[in-house]
Symmetry: C2
Subunit: 461 residues, 2 copies
């Protein structure tokens, strides 16, 4: 790791001159508010928090920081789950709170250009009037810039893809202060290297996203929901595979394990039996399509031995059916009032999903760990949610986390499906990538030779 | 550009020792067969043509070539349209003809691992038994490796995406002789930099693809086709936008201009009136869905003033309806027996499509050029096909090509939607990318410091 300098009083004045005094803060409140994300990783104070209001300000601050060897950590809204935006080397915390505008809606192109600080929910509230929406939804109201930087995904990825699949063009500020454009508003482009996807998911370590043109989808005219319970995880996962293979193109395909179903039932009064449950959602242009589809889904579930099957095309009923899944995190938090929570994330090819889940269930049982398994099953992605007590059960949760990551890697999967590397997954990168990690390092070195961009992330130190 | 060395007799022996004598050829026939692709660009002979049979051989040859500064040009089956695989600096032509195996089918994962030399049609013939298919289809039976290297797309991209959207993992041989893996068989991955997409579309200038794991889709149970004619290009394109916005998720959405419709009718006896035509295809799990969809499409077309509308869910009838579009290239060639053909490729945001097409039609009329416009309208992509006579109308076609590329760039589009940069589009890269081209150069320099990988492509010289 490069050695960094502390910010001098003169540099602080220069930074404030770039972004404006009102957008520069060294108050303890602002430092504290930007010292940690929603993960279990330790807080670390930045030296200054700035709120740029224009791309050129971002570029100018990077240029200054690069020349002075001051670390810069970009910040969306702090919903990261692996310490991705914790300023572990201090320096400048660059919040995008004041770059949160919709720049232009291209309704005919199903595109929108936004500043990086806009929340995806806020964006979708505005887009509703055009009958369009931006599909990636990681749960929290993360910013678009943060989602792109971490390649966030969520429950609709099985149909609509992750952040990397819903982006066309970005403006990026480089460490040396240049502003470049990558990608194209043309949905097809075969013109040179795909820098767009190099910056997406690079967690602010190669450049800082200052503007993004997103792909939008028409809001589905009709939506249906299915909740089915199965005698075993195997039959639940076989159902997932069969539904994917049916051509029905589900918009969500989620697994909740039996322990989680019980917890949700006890804490929230939802009607879930002690079985693995599969939650599904389908989007279609006609209601008839949905009804035909639900008939096929019912047949598949019955063949797989479903012990219960509920389906609806009614909006209110759908919301009721999905309530437990949509609010599973809050329900878990409410039912463990004295705990802190750690949510881990791995993904595997779907054929390895039953083995991974079996492994998680075995670890839970053998080590007497309270943990809940929730999975974006259609994508082979799982989260294990560990309620823990710091100083008591934290180490046990961390040990389980480590073993599950190693298992996922052994199964041909990845250390992180959608939370990103941040701090917590950096040590797994050599195992996951082998010599390809050296190629990543070479690229990092060529674009950020002084290592000022979000240091301490992605690469093991 | 780096300076290269000619291959010495000793090096030729070393190369033959790596790949085997039977896989090493310096015959004039093999040199000639690999001197040009299907483009209008001039042929250039390699010094040796090799046919490696394993990834390690590819890596070992690259290591030798890198140390000796000998150019290496990868070759799929030579269907490129911009000189992408012409060995313009001589050296080693590396054909993947003998690395054309299916390595493994992961039916439950909807994935297949292949060697790069397999043709996508040959692959799909094998995959049919699993009820799965690999969607990208550029027309010719291009190899999967060539398609990935050029980010090939085709008529089904509007639903299934381009090559870059249907790839999960690749093995790549680097210039220094290392073999790395990029991407993951997990469909979700947020673990470090997206090297997968950096190599896809890099046209063999950053590394050589030696194996690829592709995403597959279930073969659609039901397919429908629509052919509609419109009074103007504007109403045809408005129809395209409306169909995309309807949520009907078309699998193909193609435009043929009035001149092309006339040529197709006269040469092939197909029933196309002298109007712009839109060809559509829809895929669904049930026939009922298709019928509902066709009703919606008919309403949209009528609203847009369609002068004719034909639709079917019958396979034979569908093939008849689409005959003219699927065979448009052969029909054009047959109807111009004394000509050579040059096919250009640009893409723009769909809102700019009418202006681009109007510009093409104006150029054709004002300059008295024979040319046919065919478009992947759903993607904003067009091809203009120029029949020309070398030494006579070639320059006129090239001048029109240049002007159309510049117009597409001015409209916020790209110099190439799916043919790649190759030789012909390199000069437009500074205009399309600005300073981002310097970032591409830095990456090229860091991965291929001696510039041996497919020199003369992508970057202007």
């Amino acid at each position: 790791m490069s050695s960094f300098n502390r910010i001098t009083a003169e540099q602080l004045t220069q930074i404030a001159a770039i972004v404006g005094d009102v957008n520069t803060s060294t108050t303890q409140a602002d430092i504290d508010l930007h010292a940690r994300d929603q993960s279990h990783h330790a807080a670390h104070p930045a030296e200054v928090v700035i709120f740029p209001t224009a791309a050129q300000q971002v570029a100018d601050v990077l240029k200054l920081a690069n020349e002075a060897r001051i670390p810069v950590t970009p910040w969306g809204v702090g919903t990261g789950l692996e310490g991705n935006s914790i300023p572990v080397y201090g320096g400048i915390l660059m919040s995008f709170e004041r770059m949160a505008r919709i720049v232009e809606v291209y309704a005919d192109d199903f595109q929108v250009t936004v500043q990086p600080g806009i929340g995806h929910r806020d964006l979708n509230a505005e887009l509703a009037r055009y009958g369009l929406f931006y599909p990636p939804d990681p749960g929290a109201n993360a910013t678009v810039g943060g989602m792109l930087a971490n390649n966030a995904a969520g429950i609709r990825t099985v149909k609509y893809g992750a952040s990397k699949d819903n982006i066309l063009r970005m403006q990026v500020a480089l460490a040396d202060g240049r502003l470049i454009h990558v990608g194209s508003r043309s949905v097809k482009q075969a013109a040179g290297y795909d820098l767009l996807h190099l910056f997406v998911g690079s967690e602010g370590t190669l450049g800082v996203i200052t503007e993004a043109t997103l792909k939008l989808m028409p809001v589905p005219a009709h939506v249906s929901a299915v909740v089915a319970a199965f005698p075993s995880v195997e039959s639940a996962v076989e159902t997932v595979v069969a539904v994917r293979g049916s051509g029905l193109d589900p918009a969500a395909l989620e697994l909740v394990d039996a322990a989680h179903a019980v917890m949700l039932s006890q804490s929230d009064g939802v009607e879930l039996s002690e079985h693995p449950h599969v939650f599904m959602e389908f989007h279609a242009a006609h209601e008839a399509t949905l009804n035909d589809g639900l008939e096929m889904v019912r047949e598949i579930c019955e063949e797989m031995g479903a012990v219960s099957f509920r389906a609806t095309t009614d909006t209110a009923e759908r919301k009721r059916l999905w309530h437990a899944r949509h609010h599973s995190y809050e329900i878990m938090v409410r039912s463990h009032p004295d705990k802190q929570f750690f949510i881990m994330d791995v993904a595997v090819p779907i054929s390895a999903y039953p083995e991974l889940i079996d492994y998680v269930e075995t670890i839970k049982a053998e080590r007497d760990i309270t943990a809940y398994l929730i999975g974006h099953a259609g994508d082979g992605n799982i989260h294990v949610e560990f309620p823990y007590t710091p100083g008591e059960t934290y180490d046990k949760a961390m040990a389980a986390n480590h073993d599950i990551v190693m298992k996922a890697l052994a199964l041909g999967g990845t250390a992180t499906g959608e939370h990103g590397v941040g701090i917590g997954k950096a040590k797994y990168m050599p195992i996951e990538h082998g010599d390809a990690l050296d190629v990543m390092r070479v690229i990092k070195q060529s674009l950020d030779p002084n290592g000022i961009l979000n240091p301490g992330k992605v690469f093991p130190e």
